[in-house]
Symmetry: C2
């Protein structure tokens, strides 16, 4: 298309909407001249993409972010939303012990959405994918009353057995890697109308999952693994149920960053609740055999035991945690 | 979860909403006791799925259907919406010359959506996937103001080279396989408040892509291929542009079903316009070398020529077609 079809003469592009630019032209804008990794045999532009799966298997997951449910554009930039949508999926690949290879993105939004916002969102998706070595290989763009970003990530196990939620065994050690509670603390700050401390607010806007820790844990013999998306206790409850074990956490090994402790104090909250129940940081939680050394970056936080008469479950310092059980969807719509 | 948490005592399940059932319980309902194909090494329930990719490559595509844009629940049942969402993606896999292996589904909907509707939608996804040998291996469920169904399909090229849009060469023959115009005719009927003829209305509700014709065309030497989702002329325009050729269609080989001709006559419309520009039937269009016999089920409808001074493009009986160029998104939102 000719540039004149996009930009009104002499005008700025800021306010030009998706409707004015058009579906195909916008797709061209966000896919042309991007550098694809070697795994991308065929990128965007055809009916489907083709990605290498050298391992003979492909790991795949899908996660959907909805405006007003998972993000607000007055709290996060479109680029940050893109990064977060990518990170949520890339972390699910890492949690299997795999390395991400590619993303596909189904994007639905109002036709009045500024094209520049969508380009920035795509920039965020690309940036986060690239940080793991993955490419954005395909997608779809259509209209909806709010922005919905549905991302599918594909990954390569590189010969590893996938690390499931069901493999934890009595005698294993429980360990975590990555930030916990930072996103929840940032959300609490934003929800009260503040924009700082930046470290916490930014952690809510863009998580920093420890991607490479996933394959490293698999190589170190992890018996089970999960990505902490809904909150550590809520996600470990999935592991406890799938594995038929009890997970006994100790609160002492969990550290609270000084900045987080300050903010919690100012808000009259217990920061440990953020750490144990806050979602969206996409840390990794895993269990390791009792005699195996933990890989670098992992912190031991508890032990796996056989279930007692109360059945499988998660306890903190010997008791069920008396707090919010994690992120529950369906609040807004 | 206990059944009593889902069904109010003595009540029917019809009106029980997703909010009442809960995200995880609904996911359990639509994933438990499903039969997975042999390619599914790990199905729903963990951070990611694992699917075999025996070919060493995986074909992947994403397509999003939005309530009010791509479907209306007063025109289609939830099961039909599920089938259609799956078909749109499975056809994109076939159009590469590949065989579908799996679907992942990102579903966003209002929390007031009846759980039974979502189960029926999942039944439709499963049924269409199963018709191609694929399984539903993973997904995500969250809330949004309207129903958004984002489907990713994965497929196996089984050693074939992918058939791209860019491979058409002067001297090739153009051929189509599958129904054309039926969905558009059904939409025209529905849009005027009618519910019959059933054959046309049902074709709009659930397309019937000729899935196996994709790999067969690849085996027969197809030089380019595309799935007709936006309308034959609009989609062939992508092939013409990507291949740098002119596509010369003849109108005579296109047949109009008697029922479609009757309805077009009653509505005062030219049924050929439905055939040439109607989207969503997910027929396949391909080009074959001039000397290669066409596989069974394909109809020759034109020839590929070098571009003339007007450049690449698509003509019908020697002229640009004077009609609607295909489905344009962003009408409603």
């Amino acid at each position: 298309m000719s540039p004149s079809a996009i930009t009104p003469e002499g005008g700025s592009e800021t306010g030009v909407s998706l409707r004015e630019v058009g579906e195909f032209a916008l797709i061209d804008r966000v896919t042309t001249d991007r550098v694809q990794p070697a795994t991308t045999e065929l990128g965007p532009g055809d009916d489907s993409a083709v990605v290498t799966a050298a391992d003979g298997r492909v790991v795949a997951c899908t996660d959907v972010l909805v405006e007003g449910v998972h993000f607000r554009l007055d709290w996060s930039s479109p680029e940050q939303v893109g990064r977060k949508a990518a990170a949520a999926n890339l972390a699910d690949i890492a949690a299997m012990g795999a390395v991400p290879t590619s993303l596909l993105v189904g994007l639905a939004c109002p036709s009045s959405t500024p094209a520049a916002q969508l380009e920035q969102l795509a920039d965020g998706l690309w940036a986060e994918a690239r940080s793991t070595g993955a490419g954005l290989v395909g997608g779809d763009l259509t209209s909806a009353p709010v922005i919905v970003v549905s991302v599918t990530a594909l990954g390569d196990l590189q010969g590893r057995a996938p690390v499931l939620r069901s493999g934890a065994r009595a005698g294993d050690r429980i360990a975590v890697c990555g930030r916990l509670g930072w996103s929840a603390a940032g959300l609490a700050v934003l929800g009260r109308g503040f924009r700082s401390p930046a470290a916490l607010v930014d952690a809510h806007r863009v998580p920093e999952p420890p991607y490479s820790a996933g394959p490293q844990a698999a190589d170190a013999g992890a018996t089970s693994m999960i990505d902490v998306s809904d909150g550590l206790l809520a996600d470990l409850a999935h592991v406890a149920r799938a594995s038929g074990v009890a997970l006994r956490l100790r609160s002492r090994p969990f550290t609270v960053a000084p900045r987080m402790a300050e903010i919690a104090s100012a808000l009259g909250l217990d920061p440990l609740r953020w750490v144990l129940t806050g979602g969206e940081d996409h840390a990794l939680a895993a269990t390791f055999p009792g005699d195996a050394p933990l890989p670098e970056g992992w912190t031991e936080v508890g032990a796996v035991e056989a279930p007692d008469e109360a059945g499988a479950g998660v306890t903190v310092d010997g008791r069920p945690y008396d707090g919010d059980g994690g992120w529950v969807h369906f609040a807004k719509y």
